[in-house]
């Protein structure tokens, strides 16, 4: 009887921990800002799409939110691969033209399988801009799978 309650406690605690951490694992946000303010500033990240047990990655989807209302607008470009780009696009672009709302830019997808995707964040003019990028690696059946982001350049 005692063992049953002990097992229940362990299951509940372990379950809560697993749930907490899996929720964080699903939410992939990359926040940042252009520290130099220069028009030519580019923040560069690499996004690693891997099979975390949910299935082999098929594509990366991304969108950006410009979090500063001003004349300058934030955009992203995601890129992977250099061959057969006319069959399966190797690069896509998305701009958040409305920077005074909570909305993100149009969702873009790049179907280039598993591996490392490049993410470039830029803005249209000199100015103080901060942003939030949503990133998700997904399988061919749209299941979220392993997604890792690394910052490579901050401007």
């Amino acid at each position: 009887m005692k063992f049953t309650s002990v097992k229940t406690v362990i299951s509940l605690v372990a379950g809560s921990v697993i749930l907490t951490h899996s929720v964080f694992a699903l939410a992939h946000n990359q926040a940042g800002s252009f520290t130099t303010g220069l028009a030519a500033a580019v923040d560069f990240y690499t996004v690693s799409c891997t099979n975390d047990g949910n299935g082999a990655p098929s594509y990366l989807e991304a969108q950006v939110k410009d979090m500063t209302a001003n004349s300058s607008k934030v955009n992203i470009t995601i890129q992977k691969g250099t061959t057969n780009c006319n069959t399966n696009a190797c690069a896509r672009f998305s701009l958040d033209s409305a920077d005074n709302d909570a909305g993100y830019s149009p969702l873009i997808k790049l179907t280039q399988g598993a591996g490392t995707y490049n993410l470039y964040v830029a803005h249209t003019a000199a100015g103080a801009d901060s942003y939030d990028v949503l990133l998700h690696c997904k399988t061919a059946t749209n299941v979220h799978t392993g997604t890792g982001v690394t910052s490579r350049q901050q401007q």
Binding site: V6, I10, A14, A39, N70, S72, D101, G127, A128
Partner: protein, 195 residues
Amino acid sequence: MMMKLQRKHLHLSLFVALSLNILGSTQFVYAENNDTSTRSNVAFDSLASVQVQCFSGENELSVDQVITDELMQQAASRVAEERVAALSRLATAVPMDVVVRQKIIQTALQDADPRVRGQAVYALVQQNCADSMLLLEQALDDSELSVRLMALDGLMGDDRSVALLKNALKDDEQAVRELAAVKLDSLFPTAETVK
């Protein structure tokens, strides 16, 4: 003996599980405290003494109490990003009483976080307020690059703005000089500006 071992195992599991959860919560608490601490750490806030007075515009929207309450709550958030988001929304026409808008902007101009101050400067320029130009002039003296950039963004094409834009060409920061030059170029396409 077996029972003791199982109890020990249980204690260890509970300890690990709770530690992980506490660690997660601590990170959030730290983030909030960190945010609050930046409020009292200002290098030079050029806008600390500015008093704003705004008036109803010609195309004023009728007041929406739900949106008003929502924005007031967001503007008073402990999280700087939330305060910036509230001020971003004030940069457009919102169905709020002008007095409430003025209060939010006034408070934000004295915020220790430069991102909030910068966004407040930009929001103010979009309102019908007295002494906007004086505020922009003071904001251009702020020690924070982001505040100066927001002030530059708010300048128009009148004589005083042009004088301030020309003065900004001498700023220490390349981004400020660049933005001033671009704005002057757009106002006077044939004029030569120092880059």
